[in-house]
């Protein structure tokens, strides 16, 4: 019986009047027991004087593994002041909070959040032994706050039934899910604020080692999938995740509208335990799942979880992705969505299999559906990376307007003056139409258009890439623009105008690509 832990209750007040009697009582309880550890349960202890503290020290001398639990705040203060909290484990007593009849206002990966009164909410953790999780969340929430992300930090740990909870102050707050469910006309406002916060998170650099790397987690998912996908598809998935570069910017990890609160006109995050660093595509994958993926087969899931319809979720996702990418270009939005879906389906398939999904008919059906979608995506998508400044499309004249609109969005975002916009428009038209005529004719091939705006001096550069026949449009001699109307030939005028309207036009043929760059100072 040498490994026994013995628990002894301390009651009422312990002072010089009764310290000796208490010590005697403890020693008698230890007599004949080969205790290796001792737990002093202070649930009913109201006060302890220095005489009482000396008793505890003497007990600790005989059994060094001693901890005091359920300490009320008055006693804790004494133990803290006298340095006892440094010498031994002292656990505070947890206030008991009931959530019966309380409104659920949020739900995250590790717990559910309830409003307990007008000013306070409690996050009840799923894991019964959650003290470590709570500590972790407090630490990452503090880190986020220091790095400039508005978030609520818990001020108390409580007991809720058999689980632990952490209490936050949250006044007059309403989750974005609730706003979307009850005030549909605020959709666009919600999208704007939601994306503003998301961009803020993604532009926050996290000091090395402070947060886990999401890529490691996704690599685990991809590794898991190797046994559940055809070999080639599995390998491709793995290679695509491996090719995502390390990124030290913050990602939230569970960024859906129940975790975003509006408190007195301030947007605030409330669920921070999934905070990590990584490439934004990993974040977009989890957002896709929250609004679309998990509910794709059963639309009632999102209604139950978020309180709004599947259609509302789809619309919110689509608008948010468009705003995040800064484009209305459907091709671009779809491209990034497809990349997000690859990670999203990977995650859901793994989750379902680990929850014994293969053993039920329902589970097999969802796994089969997600796997089919995933395999189709792996067939057409070659990288998880995306560049919001780049558009790839067929080099055909019908796509000219789309190219112009895409470039126009970037120019507008850069406050480009109207005149320069028009000049760039003329040049872009000449170059793109040129590619549609010469690069692949009579076949059809792809062209990539990249827009980059740089400061100091403010300038824009537009790059056209195609894999067609090598063709240098600048090689042609300039037309004679002094000829009369009758002698005029229209050929070559487009390129001539382009050269005149731009500050620089450069062509090169490299790695099997025609590369033409337009530069314009704004």
């Amino acid at each position: 019986m040498s490994n026994e832990t013995i628990t002894i209750r301390l009651n009422g007040r312990i002072d010089s009047g009764n310290a000796a009697a208490v010590e005697q009582d403890i020693l008698s309880q230890l007599e004949g027991v080969q205790a290796s550890a001792i737990v002093l349960d202070a649930a009913n202890l109201e006060y302890i004087s220095s005489a009482g503290l000396r008793v505890i020290l003497r007990v600790k001398k005989s059994i060094s593994d001693l901890k005091i639990i359920n300490v009320c705040s008055e006693v804790y203060e004494i133990l803290d002041m006298t340095g006892f909290t440094e010498m031994m484990t002292v656990e505070k007593a947890y206030r008991v909070v009931s959530i019966e009849g309380c409104e659920e206002i949020g739900r995250g990966a590790n717990g559910t959040i309830y409003r307990i009164d007008q000013d306070n909410v409690v996050k009840v953790y799923n894991n019964a032994d959650a003290l470590e999780d709570i500590q972790h969340e407090r630490e990452v929430a503090k880190l986020a706050l220091i790095l400039g992300i508005p978030t609520a930090i818990s001020y108390d740990v409580v007991k809720v039934g058999e689980s632990y909870g952490s209490v936050f102050e949250l006044l007059n707050a309403s989750s974005f899910s609730k706003i979307l469910a009850t005030e549909p006309d605020k959709m666009d406002w919600c999208v704007e604020e939601y994306v503003k916060m998301l961009k803020k998170i993604h532009s926050t650099v996290v000091p090395e080692g402070k947060l886990p790397d999401m890529k490691e987690t996704v690599l685990d998912w991809a590794t898991f999938m190797q046994d559940h996908l055809p070999e080639a598809a599995g390998k491709k998935l793995m290679a695509m995740v491996e090719a995502v570069p390390h990124d030290d910017h913050m990602i939230h990890g569970d960024y859906h509208t129940k975790n975003v609160e509006l408190q007195n006109d301030e947007v605030l995050l409330i669920d921070m335990d999934t905070l990590s660093v990584g490439h934004p595509i990993f974040e977009l994958a989890s957002i896709y799942n929250a609004f679309v993926g998990y509910s794709e087969l059963d639309h009632s899931i999102i209604q139950h979880f978020q309180g709004f319809s599947f259609e509302t979720g789809m619309t919110f996702w689509h608008k948010s992705l468009a705003a995040y990418l800064g484009t209305d270009n459907e091709r671009k939005i779809r491209e990034v969505e497809d990349k997000a879906r690859i990670i999203g389906y990977t995650r859901m398939i793994r989750r379902s299999i680990r929850r014994k999904g293969l053993e039920t008919e329902e589970g097999r059906a969802e796994i089969a559906y997600w796997t089919k979608e995933l395999l189709e995506l792996l067939d057409t998508v070659d990288t998880l990376l995306f560049n919001i400044n780049e558009l790839e499309l067929d080099a055909v004249a019908d796509n000219l307007q789309e190219v112009q609109d895409f470039i126009d969005e970037h120019l507008t975002a850069a406050d480009c003056p109207l005149k320069a916009k028009m000049q760039i428009g003329v040049a872009v038209e000449e170059i793109f139409v040129n590619i549609t005529h010469y690069a692949y004719s009579p076949k059809i091939g792809k062209a990539t258009i990249r827009v980059e705006v740089s400061e100091d001096p403010v300038s824009v550069s537009i790059t056209f890439l195609d894999r067609g026949v090598p063709y240098d449009p600048l090689a042609k001699a300039d037309p004679d623009v002094t000829l009369s109307a009758e002698e005029r030939q229209i050929g070559g005028l487009g390129i001539f105008m382009t050269k005149k309207l731009m500050d620089d036009v450069v062509y090169e043929y490299k790695d099997g690509q025609n590369i033409l760059i337009l530069k314009k100072n704004l």
């Binding site: 004249a397 000219l400 307007q401 109207l418 005149k419 028009m422 000049q423 428009g425 003329v426 038209e429 000449e430 139409v433 623009v481 002094t482 000829l483 009369s484 109307a485 009758e486 005029r488 229209i490 005028l493 487009g494 001539f496 105008m497 005149k500 309207l501």
Partner: protein, 99 residues
């Protein structure tokens, strides 16, 4: 997008353009000008609301100019600064009648 408005007054015609005269809309203008070019000896193109002209647009303007100069005249009015720059660069300001 190009809006084309035509007004015929006897032998004279006024065609007002609004929007972009580019690769896609140049064809529309060419179509719209066909009958005007047949019936008119004096053609005025009002560019007040025209924001943009590309080389495809210049091609249509040049061929219209060639047809009109054989039997009358074609002139451009209310040309914006931005469009005028295109005409200047390409020498079109010396070829076309611009008021």
């Amino acid at each position: 997008m190009l809006n084309i408005k035509k007004e015929q007054q006897g032998e004279a015609a006024i065609v007002s353009l609004e929007g972009h005269l580019d690769t896609n809309t140049a064809r529309e203008l060419e179509e719209e000008l066909k009958d005007v070019l047949l019936q008119t000896t004096s053609l005025t193109l009002d560019f007040e609301k025209l924001e943009y002209v590309s080389s495809a647009g210049l091609r249509v303007l040049l061929s219209a100019h060639k047809i009109m100069s054989g039997k009358g005249e074609m002139k451009l009015v209310h040309v914006s600064e931005a469009v005028m720059e295109i005409f200047d660069i390409t020498g079109f300001s010396d070829v076309l009648n611009i008021e």
